[in-house]
């Protein structure tokens, strides 16, 4: 079983230095691309590999790149941005890549920038990742010194500058158009689309925003080919994925595995099963804004299509396990508190609806709920659903709510009937 992204990352060890990275095959892909490939060839290779975005939405990466205007008439400068905001509650995968092997990301970014002919790149890093910030600062410096960044890289005529930007908090900054506003020094509210960032993004110029894990896959695809990348997985989605499990399991953590491992394998083998005395009650398969799945879904494959067929989303691939001693109403209240707090306030349904949902859930949890409250909650899952808001925050917030009402309805009803929290 191959683990291209993490094979050189070892827990407790220092991040790979430039020297270690190059002795383990680093920057070969970049040299190869600059010498032998046109930008279009790189785009096509990545498209053919069927690499799908690892930031949550799962869009074909090569396809996304192909929307960027190319050629002499294209607006300049173009930008490439690595989204390292990682703030989806329950998600801790990009941290591993950032802290463990920063040059892998940098090489992926340079190749991606070459593919769209961008000359300026940013890593947008969340404020809380202090260690990653130190590691990246140092590694970007090393890459400049070695000539991987800067003017006329390896005499190819291609130039790229790279900057590290650290945020000042707020989940919204991870949404790609809000991220652009944050980089421009504005409030991080999303932008209305179209125009899409590929055409008019940062400072109005063509811009690609990709997740850290997505970009880390790129050098390996160049080195080993599209077929190899496809062959890594157990399903029709290509490659490996950093999966994670948190909650009351014996061995919480993150592991790089072929896309399409089952939820059961992740929870029972890698995470070591539930802690003694606890049973699994529900799972958010891909972070806070994905629908609950339950025990009956344990054998589904963790790929984009299978998780969607089961009624949820692969999301970030890092799952949160809810045990039978945790109150589902309290659990969902915690999630809605987060979403209400992080709403940017641009659209009315989200700004007004989420605090209302949070309040209703709190009153049910405290034993002050009424039967009509369930109808109110259900109404919100419609009103805040897809298509009614500018960004995916509100629809994402409704996913765990609607599925909690579906799977744990008894728990909601009991709170209301007994006028107290039974947990």
């Amino acid at each position: 079983m191959e683990r291209p992204l993490t094979k050189n990352i070892h827990a407790g060890r220092q991040p790979l230095s430039l020297k270690e990275y190059t002795t383990t095959g680093g920057y070969i892909a970049l040299q190869q691309v600059l010498k032998n490939n046109t930008p279009q060839e790189v785009q096509q290779l990545v498209q053919k590999s069927n690499l799908k975005g690892r930031g949550g939405a799962g869009f074909n990466t090569g396809m996304k790149w192909s929307f960027v205007p190319m050629g002499a008439d294209a607006p300049q400068p173009k930008y490439l941005i690595a989204n390292a905001d990682e703030m989806e509650p329950g998600t801790f995968k990009d941290r591993l890549l950032l802290e463990g092997n920063p040059h892998q990301l940098i090489e992926g970014m340079i190749i991606a920038a070459y593919a769209i002919q961008a000359n300026i790149s940013y890593v947008f890093l969340r404020w809380a990742y202090k260690k990653a910030a130190r590691v990246l600062e140092q590694s970007i410096h090393e890459a400049y010194e070695a000539g991987w960044l800067g003017q006329n890289i390896l005499g190819s005529g291609f130039s790229l500058n790279m900057h590290l930007h650290t945020g000042a908090g707020r989940y919204m900054c991870g949404e790609e158009t809000a991220l652009l506003n944050a980089l421009e020094g504005k409030r991080a509210t999303p932008r209305a689309k179209p125009p899409f960032p590929q055409v008019s993004g940062l400072f109005g110029k063509p811009t690609i925003v990709n997740n850290v894990e997505t970009l880390c896959c790129v050098p390996h695809i160049v080195n080993n080919g599209a077929e190899w990348f496809q062959s890594l997985s157990y399903s029709e989605d290509s490659g490996t994925k950093i999966y994670g499990v948190s909650g009351k399991v014996n061995n919480p953590g993150a592991w790089e595995l072929p896309i399409g491992v089952t939820m059961r394998e992740l929870i029972e083998e890698h995470a070591g099963g539930m802690k003694k005395g606890y049973r699994l009650k529900g799972v958010l398969p891909g972070g806070a804004s994905t629908d609950f799945l339950t025990e009956q879904h344990l054998d589904i494959k963790m790929d984009f299509k299978s998780v969607a067929a089961a009624g949820s989303r692969l999301g970030t691939g890092t799952m949160v396990v809810m045990d039978d001693a945790t109150c589902p109403v309290g659990f969902v209240h915690n999630l809605q508190h987060f979403f209400a707090q992080e709403s940017c306030g641009w659209c009315t349904p989200c700004r007004e609806g989420l605090p209302w949902v949070e309040k209703i859930l709190l009153s049910i949890e405290k034993g002050e709920g009424k039967q009509e409250d369930i109808d109110l909650l259900q109404m919100h899952t419609q009103l805040l659903g897809p298509g009614n808001t500018f960004c995916a925050l509100a629809p994402g917030a409704m996913e765990p709510l609607q599925s909690a009402i579906k799977y744990f309805r008894d728990d909601f009803d009991r709170h209301i009937r007994e006028q107290k929290c039974p947990y």
Partner: protein, 154 residues
């Protein structure tokens, strides 16, 4: 008034960007780094420095939760209150902190030693519960280990 170093640092950031205003978040962070928080005067000063209105600066300052528009203590404790930490019992840690420091979320101890704030997921959910003090991350927190951690900050 902004100090010479502050203005220098802000200019340095602004030079990297196509227009000055874009450096406002950096400017706020630079000033906060030195003064602990952003008061009204700093908002005015940054506005003048970056050629924008004070209202614009404030709209940005109040958007980001890690820019403080109120005074904070010498050390800021950010306790993760997101979902994995909820499941793993952050509330117990919160109760213990309330008892030890006699403050709730949003408050500062009378001796100005600590400010306690809730914060969203810190990206170490496999080692929940987690908290950050002055940028330093602590994971797998137990009520018994809290004292040792707090002792480091005087």
């Amino acid at each position: 008034m902004l100090s010479k170093e502050e203005i220098q640092d802000i200019d340095h950031e602004a030079a990297k960007l196509p227009y000055k205003k874009a450096a406002v978040i950096e400017a706020l962070k630079i000033v906060q780094q030195r003064r602990g928080w952003i008061n009204d005067e700093s908002v005015d000063d940054i506005a003048r420095c970056l050629e924008m209105s004070a209202a614009e600066v404030d709209s940005v300052a109040t958007f980001y939760n890690l820019i403080f528009r109120r005074p904070v203590g010498r050390h800021v404790i950010l306790l993760c209150d997101s979902i994995s930490c909820y499941v793993m019992g952050y509330k117990k840690i919160y109760e213990a902190l309330q008892e030890k420091l006699k403050i709730r979320f949003g408050e500062t101890t009378a001796d100005q030693r600590f400010t306690l704030l809730p914060n969203a997921c810190m990206g170490c959910c496999d080692r929940a519960p987690a908290l950050i003090i002055n940028g330093e991350l602590y994971t797998d927190i137990e009520t018994e280990t809290l004292d040792d951690i707090l002792l480091k900050y005087t």
